[in-house]
Amino acid sequence: MKISKEKFGQSFDALAAEYKTIAPVSDAAGVVNYEAVESFSEVKQNYLNSKLPPKSFFFPQHEKLLSYVKEGKDVTVKNELKVEKTILFGVRPCDAKAFLLLDTVFKNDMFTDPYYFERRDNTVVIGVACNKIAPTCFCSSMGFSPASSAGADIFLIDLGDSYQVEILTEKGKALAAVFPELVELTVEDQTLVDTIKSAQTTSQVDVSTITSKLEKFFDHSYWDTLQEKCIGCNSCTFSCPTCHCFDISEEVRNNKGSRVRTWDGCMAPLFTLHASGHNPRDKKKSRWRQRMMHKFNYFVHNSGDISCVGCGRCIKSCPVNLDIRQVIDGVNKAELVVN
């Protein structure tokens, strides 16, 4: 079933009055990012993907957890959790899949992160399949494809002047009620849908054995040279849709303050530095190893999936071109020393 873009746009605009609507927007330099919009006309069409991942709408880079006022020896603490009903439009399959992975992080066997989940539960994710595939994309290697709908509540396929619509969840259904009647796909539409659905990324890596290989790889000499050119910035972790590590710090002025959480990353030496001065991951080597082990081994044990969705953002943003695909290849090719 499909809906014309014109009609979809009208529904979108109507919804924008009720919901906070987030969609891909292009800036003057042509850089696409997710931003609040008021009308469908602002939404960027035919974009590849956003420069920064949309994870920030559930897990902002800088977020107030609580605030407090100190009076004498007493203190009043206030929860700062604020949530708006939101529509997140235009999420690519890799980022939608990343939401599913993040869900497993922010809820574990003991705790649920209310800041993440309140937003998550109040947001309808409208995914859109990729019509174009970048040379750095490798989602096909990660068990899904540029047209996978996993993680979306409503999934669209761009057919030029219309969208093919799939309603996937209850949340999606509730929202889709405002769409005017959907019409059947034409034969040409169906062909186009089939083409898009069967598309694969040109870049591929083999992750079939990486988890088990890494099991005994911790002390491998591969890590010694792999990371030499890494400069230890956080452009990979900040541009990663699944990286979720954060810092909690205090922002204070006089007797008022707030506790905020900000993105942090395993590439920073301070990430694990104890107050005593001891640092369990004091070398760039151990930090890089942590990044790889966490994504491709630890995460699989804890959440059942690899914590990489093949969006290629880290490849594009790395200042020294330390390409995660090559690292995976390198692990695959490295010989295990059997003792």
Partner: protein
Amino acid sequence: MNNIINDIRETARQLLADGKVDVVIGYEKGSLPLKATPCFVRSAQEVDRLIWDETCENNLASFVANTPGKKAIIAKGCDSRSLVVLIQENQLLRDDVYIIGVSCPGVVNKRKIEAEIGEILEATIAEGTISVKGMEGSKEYSFADVKDATCQTCRYPNPVIEDIHMGVTIEVSQSTPFADVIEMENKPDSERQAYFNQQMSKCIRCYACRNACPMCYCPECFVDCNSPKWLTGGVNRAENLMFQAGRVLHLAGRCVDCGACARACPQDVDIRAMNRKSAKDVLVMYHHEAGISETIKPALNEFSADDPEAFLVKE
């Protein structure tokens, strides 16, 4: 260019074979078109990995201090200036590093090309022409048109310190230095403020600029210091400006304007605009340029009784 790489490889081979150095820090072909990547060559057999072309954009000086042992480094003009500053600041022993100086015609600005023709699928460089196939179309560029902004204003393409030289010395056109800064200075305050606001709001504080900078070697950067806490975790225009301004002031008289920060920035923030302003001020006020001579003291380590005082409050 081909001759240069042969010379570089031969030199590297000799150095490693003779045991004069433990490692040669150079560039190899990267995984993306028009992008080279730093490489560390430790045996004579591996030297053929080394490349030299207009894609060798990283400043390798930032790796030198952290690489143990005796090392050889392939240094462009700007890299060599960074090495001078590092040596002056006792971060590096001159004897520990063998500098393979290469006269640099500049590096390519990949982003400029990508903004026009989308992500690059394939690219070839030959005789000053770059032929690129992008997702949105193909195009041929003359190298001069897509040269990195830093290289367009470069005044020291030839290494200022080296043990061996590669390539033909490049003549520098003596146009007005810092014309770009002067243009910026002549704009009204509000316009400049708006420009920096817009630039700073892009910053995500990944610190790629800081980490790519050979001069940013502090064990604890002021942004990471928690008492006093100079910056909060806030990522907003004002905080970002304070970070960048703080960094620029730390680099005053030390920045060699290699542009590594700007090229490293994943968000394409115009970091150089501030660094170059400071470099210009240092040149105008103190007649100093960082890293051009081992014997000239850095501008802020020196003073003179008649330094300009125009900044004093009007009374």
